[in-house]
């Protein structure tokens, strides 16, 4: 999940979620970054409405929290 979190750090700060930016955030956390995962993330998020996903989370945090355990 740290790749997702990194993207959300950027998104929440109003920054664009680019490969370079995600890599920089992860590297700063001392994580050995896998390029292909970053690429996949950026490509996948390109089609995801992060704002909406976050809003959805706020609407029903309790339910989701139960699932992943």
């Amino acid at each position: 999940m740290e790749y997702i979190y990194a993207a959300l750090v950027l998104h929440n700060a109003g920054k664009e979620v680019t490969e370079d930016a995600v890599t920089a955030v992860l590297a700063a956390a001392g994580i050995e970054v896998e390029d292909s995962r970053v690429k996949a993330l950026v490509a996948a998020l390109d089609g995801v409405d992060i704002e909406e996903a976050v809003a959805k989370a706020a609407a029903a945090p309790a339910v989701a929290a139960a699932a992943p355990a």
């Binding site: 999940m1 292909s36 996948a44 995801v48 989370a57 929290a65």
Partner: protein, 282 residues
Amino acid sequence: MALYTTHLPQWKQDEVEQIVSLANEYRLTGLVDLHGIPAKQMQEMRRDLRGKAVLRMTRNTLVEHAFGSMGEPIDGINSYIDGQSALIYTNDNPFQLYKKLQQTMTKMVARPGDIAPEDIVIEKGPTSFKPGPIVGVFQQAGLPAAIEGGKVVIRERKVFVKAGEEINAKQADVLSKLDIRPIDVGLSLQVAFYDGTFYEPSTLAIDETEYYNNVVLAAQQAFNLGVYAAYPTAQTIEPIIAKAAGEARNLGVEAAIYSKDIVELIIGRASLQAKALKGMTE
């Protein structure tokens, strides 16, 4: 290697140079399969890709020459050349390119010899056909057709062609008559060479829903953590206050602390207890 290319006529040499120079210019060089794409669709796809990717159709032998002349590791691309390959160049990352190409896929009518990409199912129910020889055509292709109420109907749901099976001429004819378009046609990426690494389609198919769900999950987790740890932010402060107030009310009711805000709850609780007890004595 220069020697090798000098055997080629000038236009071929130019073509090889072009392939090489594009491969140097773009971050990604890929091979796409053009098999079965009609000219009209091909034009549409080229238009869709304009500005995002360069599509170049050329002879496989020239592609092999070109990458062979570039050496390792890009020459590995030659092992992926198959049938009607074309070259694609872009600065997108391979995942992005794969996604874009997937979006160009359209459903087409099947031709004899095509392979069913998934189970082709024909649903039960009436068709638009009037009774006639067509019933026989359907039946011969293995479709349970009959005439009912002046119409040709399919009597029951039928898996007409199983996934992976070849569609024969009769089946293709029936599918076309029923206007069922089972074949995915579009540019399918065979391999992408990007930043020194080869990416195959199996790696590149990403489940966007999963990413979406993970973003939701991540947001929920962050929210839960923020509230749990009482770390105040614009998003968490209200639920934190609500949580604190709720806890205070719970404590007040539980310990029967007679405070104006909660005395009604305490009364309510006492009355319910009395009722419950009364119920047990009757």
